[in-house]
């Protein structure tokens, strides 16, 4: 059976309007991410890979082109709808972890449910399962400041998978970690992929990209190669 496409981008462009003039960052990106895919986008700094990730994650809008997420054309949806998609369709993992410093591990992982309006009784088992998945059950009541870099990234991954999203987007997920911890985190991504998660990660590191099943190369605002 042919895998279903989760995210399809056609001719995506993105221009930034600066005082000095218009700066084109994406110049017509065509990309399809299939269900159960584990893809890595590689490229040099400034190649537009993070911008592409933000558009695929509904955090930003393209200047032109179309983007279809799970069968829905989302490039022109209103802000409220995009927030809803980010909440239930997308899981983000950032280089900077991006956890709330005042919240505990449990509260950070449960954060998407606050905006989904779910009951505490429904949320608790889902949060516990996600935290267990990343092996941090013993750190449930700790705040991010009390965790190591690797543990913080695990919390971020738990927050990304807790809603069982259609697509997990990771932007340089090992950029702030040492090589051993990076391998642990990538092994975690591999395990999630084996269990059926669709993952698209962005990196400039070849070793990291090699963990993915396919590698897309970006250059000059376009997908320039695939392996």
């Amino acid at each position: 059976m042919c895998p279903q496409p989760v995210a399809q981008a056609h001719g995506l462009t993105k221009d930034y309007l600066l005082a000095q003039g218009t700066v084109p960052v994406l110049r017509g990106v065509d990309l399809t991410v299939y269900q159960g895919d584990f893809a890595a986008i590689m490229g040099a700094s400034g190649s537009g890979k993070s911008t592409l990730l933000h558009i695929l994650g509904c955090l930003d809008r393209p200047t032109s082109g179309s983007y279809v997420l799970d069968g829905m054309t989302v490039s022109r949806l209103p802000d409220r709808k995009l927030s809803g998609l980010r909440n239930s369709y997308i899981g983000f993992v950032f280089q900077e972890f991006n956890l709330l410093p005042q919240a505990t591990v449990y509260e950070n992982v449960a954060l998407p449910f606050l905006y989904a309006g779910k009951d505490h009784e429904q949320v608790r088992p889902l949060v516990l399962r996600a935290v267990d998945e990343v092996g941090l059950t013993h750190r449930l009541d700790h705040k991010p400041a009390a965790l190591s870099g690797g543990e913080r990234q695990r919390v971020a991954i738990a927050r990304a998978i807790v809603v069982n999203p259609k697509l997990i987007l990771a932007d340089e997920p090992t950029g702030n970690l040492d090589s051993e911890t990076s391998r642990d985190i990538l092994a975690l991504f591999t395990r999630l992929h084996e269990r059926g998660a669709t993952i698209l990660l962005v990196t400039h590191d070849t070793e990291v990209a090699e963990f993915a099943r396919r590698i897309l190369t970006m250059g000059d605002g376009r997908i320039s190669g695939q392996s």
């Binding site: 933000h54 994650g57 980010r86 991006n98 709330l100 606050l114 905006y115 309006g117």
Partner: protein
């Protein structure tokens, strides 16, 4: 923009807001000082204003809201001599005229103030002695503690009896009992009753009430003052200091007033040697004055609230700059613009409401202290608590709206990239 708050969502937002505020306890506390001052000032002003209003209104009510009171004006001697062939001031003839002025007049009482010496009292006690008609008691709403009041036959027969105010009776000791004899000037009067007036202690404090200190008065039957060398009778007419006209209903006082005024004007040949006091009008005026007083002072307190609100807005704007990344994180996991607005509004409302609660508490302490040490009358009403509290919530909403919208308008990508 429509906010749909689910109960659990609201609880979650409030919990986050509380957590954020507790992160910076000192800053949060300092930011609400202005609100605390404003709310406590508004609360204290409303409490003092309400206390003063009640006191004044109670005093005016004691004069009888269905009464019209005429008081003698002491004209300068030169003027009174030249006018005495036209008018001799208030006198018993006016009582007869007023009784028949309108069917709405149900009773008329009158009195004359006397300057006499009462034996058995220390020099410090100087009772106000009056010779009054038998109808004085019901018209002033006085109650008898013991014995009886002056009767019409006492007035007609000029019986040497007297009635004491409660405080005066207590000061006189044995002489202040019913049945005792009291020497006034060179006459012996028999005490036949003791009257009790309404709580005069509170009335004295404002100094605004035009009533008499009933509990320190000594009442004699009208006419007996002639035995004490006070006043004289010319052609069956005696001078008076006060006439009280009771109407059948307080609603018709304003309607009858022009008639009474015109009748007196004719009787006194246009000479204003008397003053018309209308308790009902005094009360309406006092209410109006009190409203203006509350409005002016409340506005001054309100300025503190506005300043406090600006302080809160300033703190929230600074907070938003510091929490840009947090806003980005929340937007990334699915928070809508409305969610961000709700969160920052919740923080602002939580801050000002906490300030409001502290302010009410401090206002209570201030009001109690003012009542205790300055002796002012203070009244705490639900209105006095609800108004400043709701105002503080409103200030929170106003102060929080701009920062909340500013936070909500942030670009999520830009917010996530902030340091």
């Amino acid at each position: 923009m429509i906010f749909v708050f689910r109960r659990k969502y609201l609880g979650g937002v409030m919990q986050i807001a509380l957590g954020s505020l507790l992160q910076n306890r000192l800053r949060s506390l300092l930011s609400i000082v202005g609100i605390i001052c404003g709310v406590s000032a508004v609360f204290a002003i409303l409490s003092i204003g309400e206390g003063a209003k009640r006191e004044v209104l109670a005093g005016i009510s004691r004069l009888g809201l269905d009464n019209i009171i005429l008081r003698r004006i002491h004209l300068p001697k030169s003027q009174s001599l030249s006018l005495q062939d036209r008018s001799v001031g208030l006198q018993t003839g006016d009582v007869r005229i007023l009784r028949s002025a309108s069917p709405a007049v149900v009773k008329v009482a009158y009195l004359k103030e006397l300057q006499v010496r009462v034996s058995g009292l220390s020099g410090q006690v100087t009772p106000q002695v009056v010779a009054c008609s038998a109808s004085y008691l019901p018209l002033q709403g006085l109650a008898l503690r013991s014995g009886r009041f002056i009767l019409e036959q006492d007035e007609q027969q000029k019986n040497l009896v007297c009635v004491l105010g409660e405080t005066l009776a207590d000061r006189l000791g044995q002489q202040g009992k019913v049945g005792a004899r009291l020497r006034i000037e060179d006459q012996l009067f028999v005490v036949v009753g003791i009257v009790r007036g309404a709580s005069p202690v509170h009335l004295k404090k404002t100094g605004m009430v035009v009533g008499r200190e009933v509990n320190e008065m000594l009442f004699l039957p009208f006419g007996t003052h002639l035995y004490l060398g006070q006043g004289s009778e010319k052609n069956g007419v005696q001078a008076l200091d006060e006439i009280t006209v009771k109407m059948s209903d307080q609603g018709i006082v304003e309607a009858i007033l022009p008639l009474i005024s015109r009748t007196m004007e004719l009787s006194h040949h246009g000479i204003r040697d008397y003053q018309l006091v209308v308790p009902r009008q005094l009360m309406l005026q006092a209410r109006k004055t009190q409203r203006i007083f509350n409005l002016v002072l409340g506005s001054i307190g309100g300025i503190s609230l506005v300043v406090g609100g600006i302080g809160i807005m300033n703190v929230l704007l600074a907070t938003i700059s510091e929490r840009t990344r947090e806003i980005g994180i929340r937007r990334a996991v699915g928070a809508t613009r409305q969610d961000i607005i709700a969160q920052f509004l919740a923080e602002a409302i939580l801050l000002t409401t906490t300030g409001g609660i502290f302010g009410i508490f401090i206002g209570l302490v201030c009001s109690w202290s003012i009542a205790r040490f300055a002796g002012w009358s203070v009244a705490i009403t639900p209105y006095g608590i609800i108004v400043p509290l709701l105002t503080s919530v409103a200030v929170g909403i106003c102060a929080g709206l701009y920062p909340a919208f500013k936070a909500a308008e942030m670009d999520p990508v830009h917010a996530l990239r902030s340091a």
